[in-house]
Symmetry: C2
Subunit: 811 residues, 2 copies
């Protein structure tokens, strides 16, 4: 009879039903499976001596971080059995420890349920081992096909912010977040520790951060592993936590010492979380909680080879990936691997058929309480649809006056308030201190900014509970929203356009997660991640060059067309319908660019719906073409400011070359420009040709870098006639109109382009362009002298005159 079967109550600290020997056995089993995945393609139970042919030809995996991930899973299982009310989500920050997370999912039984070809017996183990980090198999990191995971961990630093995003509005959930000491050096992680200050213990769940100080990264010690313990504790007290250190396992120390200490600290931490929540949920005083966090200091690659070829491995950076590198080639390495794997005593853990021993199997949590089966980790399976109020009552009325002035994002803000009222625990708005600056502050009519710190009498819209979170870090904003969406909720983030590129790489990772998730049969679609980019390049004249950058759009389109969407609504009502559409979609990333400054509204809500559904339309009323005749030129615009300039350019052309027939095209869905083989929204050539013709010059006024339009449309028949104006990286502090002139996107330049490119009018280019250049020079001189933006902006009365109030414009 083994220790495992008897248990030893004396060592079962604070635990009625779950002896620590069982925890240790689980840990050993998970470690065994981890090593097996890294090395073996056959002979999973070591039923015969290891042969070279049992070993994978390429050894790819990360051992170093895995023992601690396994240890924590084992102990958290024990807590789940002890606490029937506990629901845990496990986030493995060191996602490179993919084999550890997979090992535990197999031990839980979940893996075989979701992937029946990986069974619960020896054949299943063989497949479990073989597929890992193997061509046609599964990745080496935690990934979308890892049960129980919402976190890739490939790019480091986002575990804790994902954990906090998952905990928001999930009062029954506790997120155990293992933070690696390597990722703790990243900026996002270093800032994430402050997020405890945004968690409401009454209405949100809890996050239990567990910093695993295993000492080393790929090739270096970790910074936090080499500071005195008093600094370490001070740091996390300073971040607002009650930190506790569990340390052990060094130099062959008996793991039971660590088991005992860790069990006690986990008990205490979860008790403390329960206490904090109980106080808050039973009307206790509102004060910021000092949440527990655990610092687990164990050797990197603990229980692996102490030395290899005479060099220390365990507890050094050499344990990071594959400690024994030549197992296939060298008998001594292979013998060492065999000894290592036998040290876990697999015969106690698995029966002859490779099935988990009954003693261990009986200790599993049941059903959805298994961390690998956590419902929120498959957010699409628990998602509740968003209730979408009709935006009609918020729409700008253009029935009596076309061109009515509105601030598009302010209009949106009022509708967002309706959305938030209708979905009080299912929708959140995140922003880097810019919600009001982006003029979305209408939402404060129904909710507040959640803030657990001190609130003063002079503060506005701050409260212990609220559905807006603002913190001055685009990384944190992005990560919170990702965590919130991936656990089955809905939301929006807004940012200054230029600074959203702070999250380029997080965007990449989320896009890749969505791309890969779609190929995992049991993953259900989650709500799309939607960005509202405001305070955009054309109205950052006051902040200057550092704030002028439309580059995110070009970045976004590099990712899978199955995921990416880019919208440039030209006015307030099109912004409303665009956002309404985005909120109904799944598994996408929607980027919406819209200005916050007063601007004319062209379309009624109904017209906006038509335009939005088409994604691109000819606006006959804005052009000067004549039915049945080919236009002389197509003037197209994408973006609110470019649309305005393009319309003014048509006015200039009407006045100066009245016989020129101009077609006016507005693009709201940028992906329409691609062809259907490149993007689901792509237009067939026939449609593109019908709108843009095959031989008429196109003057395209674009919000962003002009090359993006060429990149999207380079396959089109009329591409050689496409002349794009946009941001050409000329910026400074000046007037809005001067910004347009600096980049040749102003009405005069667009009008000149039209004349220049149309063969029949080029002869008049000299005279007209001289006049226009004079106008431009006059505008600039006035601005530089008086500081005033001297460009006339029409009152848009002509719009009403042309189309009449109430006349349909969208078709």
């Amino acid at each position: 009879m083994t220790e495992l079967e008897t248990g030893s109550p004396a060592q079962a600290v604070g635990c009625e039903s779950y002896p620590l020997q069982v925890v240790d056995a689980w840990w050993r089993a998970a470690n065994y499976l981890t090593v097996g995945q890294i090395y073996l393609m056959d002979n999973p139970l070591l039923t015969r001596p290891l042969a070279a042919s049992d070993i994978k030809p390429r050894l790819l995996g990360h051992w170093g971080t895995s023992p601690a991930l396994n240890l924590l899973w084992a102990h958290l299982n024990r807590e789940l059995v002890r606490r029937p009310e506990l629901a845990l989500l496990y986030i493995a920050g060191p996602g490179h420890g993919g084999p550890a997370v997979v090992a535990n999912a197999w031990l839980d039984g979940t893996y075989s349920e979701l992937f029946p070809h990986v069974g619960t017996d020896e054949a299943g183990l063989r497949e479990l081992f073989r597929q890992f980090s193997f061509p046609g198999g599964i990745p080496s990191h935690a990934s979308p096909d890892t049960p129980g995971s919402i976190h890739e961990g490939g790019e480091l630093g986002y575990s804790l912010v994902h954990a906090y995003g998952a905990a928001l509005d999930n009062p029954g959930l506790t997120v155990a977040c293992v933070v690696g000491d390597g990722e703790a050096e990243t900026g996002t992680l270093a800032a994430s520790w402050h997020l405890g200050k945004f968690i409401n213990p009454e209405t949100d769940g809890a996050v239990l951060p567990i910093l695993n100080l295993n000492g080393y990264k790929i090739a270096n010690p970790a910074v936090l592993a080499r500071i005195p313990e008093r600094e370490l504790l001070a740091l996390f007290e300073g971040y607002g936590y009650s930190p506790r250190i569990v340390s052990g396992g060094f130099d062959g120390e008996d793991p039971m010492v660590v088991h005992t200490a860790l069990a006690a600290e986990l008990d205490r931490a979860l008790d403390d979380i329960e206490h904090i929540q109980r106080v808050a949920r039973t009307g206790g005083p509102r004060e910021r909680a000092s949440w527990p966090m655990i610092i687990l200091r164990t050797p990197k690659g603990w229980t692996g080879p102490r030395e290899v070829d005479g060099l220390p491995v365990e507890n050094t950076w050499r344990a990071h990936q594959v400690p024994l590198a030549q197992v296939r080639e060298r008998d001594d390495h292979r013998a060492q691997l065999e000894e290592w794997m036998h040290s876990y005593r697999p015969e106690e853990l698995f029966d002859r058929d490779g099935r988990l021993s009954p003693a261990l199997a009986s200790m599993r949590p049941r059903g959805e309480r298994r961390m690998s089966a956590s419902p929120v980790a498959n957010g699409g399976a628990v998602i509740r649809p968003l209730l979408l109020p009709d935006p009609a009552s918020r729409a700008v009325d253009v029935s009596t006056r076309r061109g009515a002035t509105a601030e598009a994002t302010r209009v949106l803000g009022h509708w967002l308030a309706d959305v938030m009222r209708a979905n009080p625990d299912n929708f959140r708005l995140f922003g880097p201190d810019e919600t009001a600056s982006n003029r979305l502050d209408g939402v404060y009519a129904v909710t507040a900014k959640q803030w657990e710190g001190e609130i003063l009498a002079t503060d506005e819209n701050l409260a212990g509970e609220g559905k807006v979170i603002e913190i001055l870090s685009e990384n944190l904003v992005e990560g919170l929203l990702e965590g919130y969406l991936l656990t089955g909720r809905h939301g929006l983030t807004s940012s200054y356009e230029a600074f959203i590129q702070v999250v380029d790489s997080m965007f990449n990772q989320h896009a890749k997660w969505l791309e890969a998730s779609a190929r995992v049969p049991w993953r259900r679609p989650v709500a799309s991640l939607t960005y509202l980019l405001s305070s955009h390049v054309w109205r950052q004249d006051h902040n200057g060059f550092s704030h002028q950058d439309p580059g995110f759009l070009g970045h976004v389109v590099t990712k899978s067309p199955d995921v990416t969407r880019v919208y440039l609504p030209p006015d307030a009502n099109t912004l409303l319908v665009t956002m309404e559409h985005c909120f109904t979609t799944r598994d996408h990333i929607n980027v919406v660019v819209a200005g916050k400054q007063p601007a004319p509204s062209f379309l009624s809500l109904e017209e906006a719906r038509v335009h939005g559904a088409r994604g691109i339309s000819i606006w006959p009323w804005a052009g000067s073409e004549i039915d049945g005749l080919e236009p002389d030129v197509v003037i197209a615009a994408a973006g609110d400011v470019p649309t305005l300039e393009a319309m003014e350019a048509v006015r200039l052309l009407r006045a100066n070359v009245p016989e020129m027939r101009v077609r006016f095209v507005n693009v709201i869905d940028l992906m329409r420009l691609q062809d259907p083989s490149q993007h689901q929204h792509g237009m067939p050539d026939t449609e593109f040709d019908a709108i843009f013709t095959t031989d008429t010059p196109i003057v395209f006024a674009f919000h962003g870098y002009p090359t993006l339009i060429h990149q999207l449309a380079y396959r089109r028949h009329n591409h050689h006639n496409l002349h794009v104006r946009g941001f050409t990286e000329h910026g400074t502090t000046t007037t809005p109109f001067d910004m347009l002139m600096l980049n040749d996107l102003d009405r005069y330049r667009l009008a000149m382009d039209a004349i220049r490119h149309v063969a029949g009018f080029a002869g008049r280019y000299g005279a007209v362009s001289q006049r226009f250049e004079d106008e431009r020079a006059r505008h600039r001189a006035t601005a530089y002298r008086t500081g005033e933006d001297a460009a006339e902006v029409s009152g848009w009365e002509w719009l009403t005159e042309v189309v009449g109030p109430g006349a349909r414009m969208g078709d």
Copy 2:
């Protein structure tokens, strides 16, 4: 006689020669000039009542942060006078406080020296005020045209890492870095506090961080402003500092209280820095220093309006930008502004001609000791050229065997060691824990990784002094290098290709800094920022999809062509000459992509120089064209792996369609593809046409996303014949060759493309492509079954056979 003229020794704490009344006067003067810049376009000395016409039509600027920036400048001036050995660089993290930095530069006299049109008299003041945040004037943030600044501060979060970068290898420099409480919430800033652990007090300068807790951001309280003082102190003790708090100025408290306390704490902090350095520089024990840092808690918008229109402004977020918004329109606002400006008692500070009062002027530090004239802030003025050892001794020898295997980055590492040996205090290598992983560890033959924390016996290549810095944050790595370069030194950063996009936005800001600097007459060119991207997309098969991303190249080309350069050296020797070239350039950002895996070397160093200088070449020996005849197809490649596949494709074509005449083109300098009007490196059409022809199909094997090549070459005559293969966002954990097949960049696909697109051969496409598809399927099946990368890689003996050993290949 005013207080200013007499001083009051009783209050001049610890200060022999510089009464705090003078500090206060300087502060008042700077505040006055700050307010003047935000509001006035005339009447700078208030010699007559303020009229509406004195007020700028658009009020753009940030008052809130400015009083503290001014206060610190005033006090640091005092320290400069007290300490003749002190050399200070001032970094204004809240860069929005541009008018404050400019005000002090004018008070220093530097501004008028550098910009003579802004004189030292009333006319100069008028121009100083008018130009600020004004069309044709200067930006509202600290910017390249701000004297004494290396830091824009437009995008927040990079002040402290810039400060640390500036301090490295500058033992005589102290960097006073004002950190805003808003930017302190960003990820990069939160991680930057740890950088004190990398500063060697003997060989580096010092950083004195000053956290300005003014309580509010744009619309919210700052997180750090709302935590208990014990947490605040614990946090910075945890980060490793000795923090001191100076607090005051609230509710009308006499500023002299703050002056007294701040002077004392600055004295103490600078004494402590001197002490730490003295101990280290006189052979004291090696132990990590606990550097001082100061927390300055003062009201936002201190000394500005307490209330406006009945709402509190001072010490609230309402003080962030322009506290009085309607000064031009409303008499009462204008009166309030006038009262506010008079509160600084300008008549004491300036004489009737607007010149600084003699008492104040005499207190200025002299010459280069003025912070606004800090020599290191104009790095190009103090730069020492890099001594570049001949890479010949490190080159791969291909004289006897073409195709000799080498790991390109390992070869580079040995030459970098030579560079670092020759430039011991003028060149640094920064990386996010990947220097060894990227196989640059040859540098450890001459230097170490600098690390002031605990060093254990098992550690390798760690030392208190060393010219490599590794910390697991691409943001910190980037910021340190930027700070190092902007203060006149040289360096390199290496990164995994996929994760460099973590710094996209920092790249934007640095590119914009360089673009704008070039227009500032007194700024001298600094060394270029060079990225080595390794562990690239085509060899991240083991880490999987999250690590597979070549998107940085597309991001880089959005910025000014005056700044950006992209190089894709195909082998080790071309990498050497590329890097040698990059190190000689100024004011550029060079992106170099190179693999670390064993790969064939094609070119001798001499040939590599020729190829590198051309940036693009036909490699006749690699193709199969016949002199004097037009080729049937052009196969072009950019990138090391694509070059390999393209060459193998030619081999397949030789074997399967031997009569096809293939031209082989290799592109090392991607910008050559553009036309000369778009980029300085662009090729004229005649040259492009000579290489690519005007009508021959081009099969282009590209390292990155294919659309980038279309974007660069869309204007070319032969663009309609350009067929690009590259990364199409298909990735996973698999074999290297399977990665190529997944993205259709493999040799078979390239060969099939060639046959398909050449009219005369398309008839044979069916049979050959079937054979090739079978081969592909066989490769994949073998890989998925055995785990081995089954693609044959030729031994490249044929290369020697074709061209003979020693034969010239580059022309």
